[in-house]
């Protein structure tokens, strides 16, 4: 396809933002390090040179007020993008997001609206420890008035960031650190994806794996291993967290009659519980549904505990095998997460 290029996830985000800024002078972007030489994994690189330092700028470490500033500028017709190096830092913005951004449209009965995009990187790499590893997206999905998405592929992340910028509501845009280098075909034009549709990444018949963001990659790897046992899984990439595409999920559930949800987060009162609940509410019959996710502890720093903290392709494959065969007699071959192994940090 000459109208597409093979881009990394990071570059795809960049392209979406660049095209949006070109298209609409009201779009601007800011956050710690936006104009530095790394440009937040390349996603903001040199935007300040292209669009000027009023439309792409570095900030004090003042997440709370800056969220409020984004909101205020949006009331004046701007479309701000606020970039966070870690989702964990959004805990400083909860008042503005939960009490202000999500409520202003309703309080004003639609006279005002808040078209802001909050970008936040989640995820492991290596030794990030308890305070630089959290996902927490279920918090935002819990609140009416906020939208939350977490695309996995370069195609979806470009269409997703553009759709988020164009959306007239606050959108929390979740990016996984281990995806920035992943490549894929990305159309050159400016296009949007839906903010309420999931994607069937792989068709299959034996069991449905529902992944979100980086766990979709884990699921794909698990499905590779499962070929050893001739087990054919279907994989759904959820993409949209606040607006569950339950139709796509139910269609798959009716076909495979077995479901494992692999969340990128703790399970208790989380997204995987919501998915489980909505499936059971809609299905007339009982099927096995399992949740996988973070161990219920803060994330430990040391590697061997950290490896145990996150769900891995191996552990997923094993669980799938057990659910499909009702047997526990298989030890899947070890598969390697290249990007995690190769990560030498430090950032």
């Amino acid at each position: 396809m000459s109208n597409s290029s093979n881009l990394s996830y990071g570059k795809a985000i960049y392209e979406g933002i660049y095209q949006s800024m070109l298209n609409n002078p009201n779009v601007f972007i800011f956050g710690q390090g936006v104009d530095d030489y790394k440009g937040h994994y390349g996603t903001t690189l040199n935007l300040h040179k292209i669009f000027g330092k009023e439309r792409a700028f570095d900030t004090p470490i003042s997440e709370d007020s800056l969220t409020g500033i984004a909101i205020g500028s949006s009331l004046a017709g701007m479309r701000p993008i606020f970039v966070h190096q870690r989702m964990d830092f959004l805990m400083l913005c909860m008042n503005q997001l939960v009490n202000m951004a999500s409520k202003i449209c309703y309080i004003s009965n639609g006279h005002q609206n808040v078209p802001i995009v909050i970008r936040a990187s989640i995820g492991r790499s290596w030794g990030q420890g308890a305070q630089h590893s959290q996902s927490l997206y279920s918090f935002f999905a819990h609140i009416p008035g906020l939208k939350v998405i977490a695309p996995t592929t370069p195609f979806d992340v470009k269409g997703g960031i553009i759709a988020s910028i164009n959306d007239n509501n606050p959108v929390i845009f979740v990016e996984h650190r281990m995806l920035y280098e992943n490549k894929g075909l990305v159309p050159k034009e400016r296009y949007e994806i839906s903010l309420s549709s999931a994607r069937v990444t792989k068709k299959g018949s034996d069991l449905t794996l529902i992944g979100i963001s980086y766990t979709v990659v884990d699921c794909l790897r698990a499905s590779e291993i499962l070929k050893d046992k001739k087990i054919d899984v279907e994989i759904i990439d959820l993409i949209c967290i606040s607006s569950l595409d339950i139709k796509t999920i139910i269609k798959s559930a009716k076909k495979t009659k077995k479901i494992i949800i692999v969340d990128n987060d703790w399970l208790y009162c989380g997204l995987a519980s919501e998915i489980t609940t909505q499936i059971t509410e809609r299905l007339k019959f009982k099927i096995p549904i399992e949740r996988m996710g973070y161990k219920f502890s803060p994330c430990p720093t040391t590697r061997n505990l950290e490896d145990n903290f996150y769900p891995s392709a191996n552990v997923i494959a094993k669980k799938v095998y057990e659910m499909v065969t009702n047997k526990k007699d298989w030890i899947p071959r070890k598969i390697i997460n290249r990007e995690i192994l190769e990560f030498k940090g430090p950032f």
Partner: protein, 311 residues
């Protein structure tokens, strides 16, 4: 401007209208037609009147849950205001907002928040947009002394100063956050000094309507010209309870201000035909209440409307 040229008629009208509105709320409150908390402005009128008279129609106003005075002084839709208090469909927000979240975009009056200090960064963000867009509209940000307890206040003024934004912070210092006196919240009450250290032009202003008007006018002109953030502190007294219609328990029982308001009397003394104005105000109030009474409540199915914007 020489004091004689000041539009005392308008000042008296705004001041008295705020006062009478708040008194009227006090009168009807027992009927429980206003089924929500009210934070009255009685005693603090001069600030809203002085600042609003110094403003042009282009200014953008951020206020808070104690917003009746600002709303009325800046000329917000008065009938829709009462309808909103009554929770009616033709209120400012179809009753979804109530007293704590007044707003009227026709006068650039942003819907207010009931979380202390939370709209201060919003005001700064609005000012940032003005600067990016090269507009000369000034943002007025009314807030209480209590709002300065919040870290977000200091972050916000730091940013306003960093980016040299066209904004005026107006601190209505009534010395109380609910029942907490300033002394229980700050070691020294050197508000202006603190703000100034963050790089804003800051000043304490005497609380009389004319002075507030005159100083604000000068400051707004400076901001329009040079886009330098300013801050003014105006001492004042909240004569009513923090919330609700009782008198403030922090006032001495025999405080003279509870019976006669010197500033109101002074403004009145400058207006020959004050009775005509009084009458006009009473009639506006009656019309608005009548309008509110006769209006319909929103329909139950409207509850899920406008959670998201679909514009």
């Amino acid at each position: 401007m020489p004091k004689e040229k000041f539009n005392f008629i308008e000042a008296y009208y705004r001041y008295k209208k705020i006062r009478r509105t708040e008194e009227k709320i006090t009168e009807v409150y027992h009927t429980d037609k206003i089924k929500s908390p009210v934070h009255l402005s009685i005693g603090q009128e001069s600030i809203a009147v002085g600042c609003s008279m110094a403003s042009s129609k282009k200014e953008i106003i951020f206020s808070n849950y104690r917003g009746h005075a600002h709303f009325i002084a800046h000329g917000g839709d008065y009938k829709a205001f009462w309808s909103e208090l009554y929770g009616k469909r033709n209120g400012l927000s179809s009753g979804k907002a109530g007293s704590m979240h007044l707003g009227d975009l026709n006068i650039n009056f942003m819907f207010t928040s009931a979380i202390v200090a939370s709209s201060i960064p919003n005001a700064v963000g609005y000012a940032l947009a003005q600067k990016i867009k090269n507009f000369s509209n000034v943002v007025l940000c009314y807030h209480g002394d209590g709002a300065m307890d919040q870290g977000v206040f200091w972050e916000s003024i730091n940013f306003a100063s960093l980016k040299q934004l066209p904004i005026l912070f107006i601190c209505e210092n009534n010395e109380y956050a609910i029942y907490s006196h300033l002394k229980k919240r700050m070691y020294k009450s050197n508000i202006v000094e603190r703000v100034r250290s963050f790089g804003l032009k800051a000043k304490k202003i005497k609380n009389d309507t004319f002075t507030i008007f005159e100083e604000t006018k000068k400051i707004l002109n400076k901001i329009r010209k040079n886009s330098i953030p300013h801050f003014i502190e105006i001492p004042t007294s909240r004569l009513k309870d923090h919330v609700g219609i009782e008198n403030s328990p922090n006032m001495k029982k025999n405080d003279s201000r509870l019976v006669e308001d010197k500033e109101l009397l002074f403004l009145r003394s400058k207006v020959k035909d004050f009775k005509k104005i009084d009458k006009k105000i009473e009639s506006e109030i009656d019309t608005a209440i009548d309008y509110a009474e006769k209006s319909k409540y929103p329909k139950q199915n409207e509850i899920l409307k406008n959670v998201f914007s679909d514009i």
